[in-house]
């Protein structure tokens, strides 16, 4: 898979503070790329470099095979975390202005705006001022401004904040649709469940360094501990525990179920899942047998608190 954005050894220093310490990332075309990291990790610094708001002190950024340069702003759409529009300017004029800044002609901008306003059901807002709109409504406008010029690369910083659940789903579907049309999406958020749901690649930045990068499934595989969550209805728990402790390490587990079974986390070690099953079956009815796959949340917490 070819990459749309290649970040090589980028360093950014603010005074004595190093915001990015030789960070390298490869963002594959057509992916939804989750950029994760605790507050102050350096995500915004990196996003600003991609947007050419600031320049890296060293290192290179390659956009679609070329060194990143001012003409590329036309192909990048950016939704910053701190949203803002001109409060006293009319919605339509404002969108036209911002679209023209991204290199669209006035006619083309107008056509696109009509398409998007229609699509999001906000046709009536053209002559409204931003200050007359609610926060969520303004967010929608901002989303439109961000995607209007059909960018190849979209950068969303916390795209769902400020949206109610209904609108959040609308925006999520739009993001997925844009990906299906060929756009690449960089997605920076602290909402791990949406990363889980949408991203196919992730990178984790912590304290100015990249700690993890890769396909979401690969990262999960890398972090899995070969642990199975087991539920068993057993009359002889003591015997069961004794049998298990010979080959496996066990911990009590917690999960929801309808039965009053015995719940365990069992780490396989070198054994296979079938061997575990075989050692379980003599002791009762197995009601639950699932491999524990680490969630993004687990990976995040484990990596950040472990470093």
């Amino acid at each position: 898979m070819s990459t749309i954005l290649e970040i090589n050894q980028v360093v950014k220093q603010y005074g004595d503070y190093k915001a990015l310490n030789a960070v390298s990332l490869n963002i594959p075309k057509g992916s939804i790329y989750g950029l994760l990291g605790p507050n102050g990790a350096g995500k915004t610094s990196l996003i600003r470099i991609i947007n050419q708001i600031t320049m890296p002190d060293s290192g290179t950024v390659i956009f679609d095979g070329e060194k990143l340069q001012p003409k590329h702003v036309q192909h990048i759409g950016y939704l910053p975390e701190e949203r803002g529009l001109y409060n006293t300017m009319k919605v339509g004029e404002q969108c036209l202005y911002l679209a023209q800044m991204k290199g669209l002609s006035k006619a083309e901008a107008k056509k696109q705006l009509e398409y998007w306003f229609d699509r999001l059901g906000i046709q009536g807002w053209w002559n409204k001022k931003i200050q007359e709109l609610s926060k969520g409504m303004a967010q929608k406008i901002q989303f439109v401004v961000c995607v209007l010029h059909k960018p190849k690369l979209l950068i969303f910083d916390e795209p769902f904040s400020g949206f109610d659940p209904v609108n959040a789903i609308i925006i999520k579907d739009e993001i997925l649709a844009l990906r299906d049309q060929g756009a690449t999406i960089i997605f920076s958020t602290h909402r791990m469940e949406s990363v889980e749901e949408m991203c196919d690649h992730i990178a984790l930045i912590h304290k100015s360094n990249k700690l993890i990068e890769g396909k979401l499934n690969d990262v999960k595989r890398q972090f899995k501990t070969n642990t199975f969550e087991v539920g068993i209805l057993s009359d002889k728990p003591e015997a069961l525990m004794q049998a298990l402790s010979q080959n496996f390490s066990t911990n009590p587990a917690q999960f929801k179920s309808l039965n009053n079974e015995f719940k365990l986390n069992i780490q396989l070690g070198n054994a296979s899942p079938n061997e575990l099953l075989n050692s379980l079956t003599p002791f009762g009815q197995i009601t639950h047998f699932v491999e524990k796959i680490p969630s993004v949340n687990d990976i995040f917490i484990q990596t950040v608190s472990g470093s």
Binding site: Q52, I53, T54, V73, Y78, G84, Y86, N87, M101
Partner: protein, 435 residues
């Protein structure tokens, strides 16, 4: 359309469409005229007549005072020598006298020079006291002259009265009041340029702060360079200012033109000013003369000077304003940084009004009309008095050169400032940003 034109256009349209711009452009000249008329009306109003009691024991002066009484006079003198002085004093407020002039009876009138009293509960005006002193002094002088057996009529004839006529080397006679007109015009334009710089500089700053606090700046500078944004903003706002000035200039011309017509003054250079005056003697009021002189001023030069110095001064100062706007989060925080900017502006107005007016071509005036921070105002005040072209050339060159260097530093502060939120920066930090 290039991006910078796009920004200029937006800034211009936003400013011009703003209600306060429209109100200020069309209402403030009206307001200005209205205030002038109002002040003129107030000063033409006759103040209340004040009653002054005269208690003249000497009997020498009472007639002199009574002679001054007329319907138009502010003071109404009444001879109350017959009444007792203490009784008069007691009845000041009851009888609504402004005051009592008490002139004692003396042997030698010489003694009177410092014996006369004015008794009042209120402090009298200086002009009134001087007026009374003049009346007494005139009478005394006259008496003294007679006593010395001098011919008062001959002395009066011998007194010379001198009027110096001011003429230009070119031979054309000019009006005595012309200097006052020049001061007035120069002062008005100098003051106007200061107001323009402050008002439009502030607009730039407000607009920067607005973009910063609404956070839209992050979206914009992901499409354009911060420097382009700053310049677009400065230029767009300047165009709005020039439009406003242009409208005012047009209104001013219409006003001057109609006033000139009203007084029957021929418009156009010098030609036939005398003919007009001789042809219409009844119109040869001094007003007509002044208006005539107004037309003779280098109006085109002054207007061109205003435009050039407004652009230069505004560009210079608004770069500071833009940098400050970027550095702070809200307007209250900007005060600390605005102080050093306003100072040179105020200084130049003072220099203009105290130095240029007394000596338009003196060293101080020349130096201040060269220093870029003060030159827009000081030079503009000098222009009506006629400034050599080379001085203007140097001053304008210095102004625009310093603009270029200031805008470069301002751009650096701006670039960093717009992305800094929260803390109000210190002077030290601003200096670091510039490096």
């Amino acid at each position: 359309m290039s991006i910078i034109t796009l920004i200029i256009k937006r800034e211009f349209i936003t400013k011009v469409r703003n209600k306060s711009f429209i109100v200020m452009t069309f209402l403030s000249p009206l307001l200005f005229v209205a205030i002038a008329v109002f002040v003129a009306y107030l000063s033409s109003m006759k103040p209340d007549t004040k009653r002054i009691a005269i208690h003249d024991k000497s009997g020498l002066f009472v007639q002199e005072f009574l002679k001054k009484n007329s319907k138009k006079a502010t003071y109404d003198y009444q001879d109350l020598t017959a009444l007792d002085l203490n009784f008069l004093k007691d009845s000041i407020s009851a009888e609504a006298y402004e005051g009592i002039i008490y002139i004692p009876k003396v042997q030698d009138t010489k003694l009177l020079e410092n014996k006369i009293q004015y008794i009042s509960n209120d402090s009298p005006g200086i002009a009134f006291i001087e007026n009374m002193q003049d009346i007494v002094a005139n009478k005394l002088t006259k008496a003294n002259l007679e006593k010395a057996k001098l011919d008062t009529l001959a002395i009066k004839k011998a007194q010379a009265k001198v009027v110096i006529n001011i003429t230009k080397a070119s031979g054309e006679e000019s009006l005595k009041g012309l200097n006052e007109i020049k001061i007035g015009i120069g002062g008005a334009f100098g003051y106007l340029i200061m107001m323009f710089i402050i008002i439009y500089g502030n607009m730039v700053m407000r607009s920067v702060i607005e973009e910063k606090t609404s956070r839209i700046v992050e979206i914009i500078i992901s499409s354009v360079k911060p420097f382009q944004l700053m310049m677009g903003k400065i230029i767009g706002t300047a165009l709005a200012g020039l439009l406003q000035f242009f409208i005012w200039a047009c209104l001013g011309f219409i006003l001057l033109f109609s006033v000139s017509l009203f007084f029957g003054v021929n418009i156009g250079p010098v030609s036939g000013a005398q003919d007009v005056l001789s042809a219409q003697p009844e119109m040869s009021s001094s007003a007509a003369l002044y208006i005539k002189e107004l037309w003779n001023l280098p109006i085109a030069g002054i207007l061109a000077g205003f435009v050039v110095y407004f652009i230069g001064g505004y560009l210079l100062y608004s770069s500071f304003y833009a940098a400050i706007g970027a550095a702070v989060d809200n307007q209250t925080d900007s005060q600390q940084f605005l102080m050093p900017i306003i100072m040179p502006l105020i200084l130049s107005v003072y220099v203009g009004f105290f130095t240029v007016i007394n000596d338009p071509h003196g060293t101080v005036a020349i130096v201040f009309s060269m220093i870029p921070l003060t030159s827009p105002i000081v030079m503009l005040m000098r222009i009506p008095f006629g400034v050599p072209l080379w001085q203007i050339a140097i001053s304008v060159t210095l102004l625009f050169a310093s603009f270029l260097s200031v805008v470069w530093f301002a751009g650096k502060i701006y670039r960093i400032g717009i992305l800094m939120y929260g803390k109000k920066p210190t002077w030290k930090e601003l200096y670091r940003w510039m490096k």
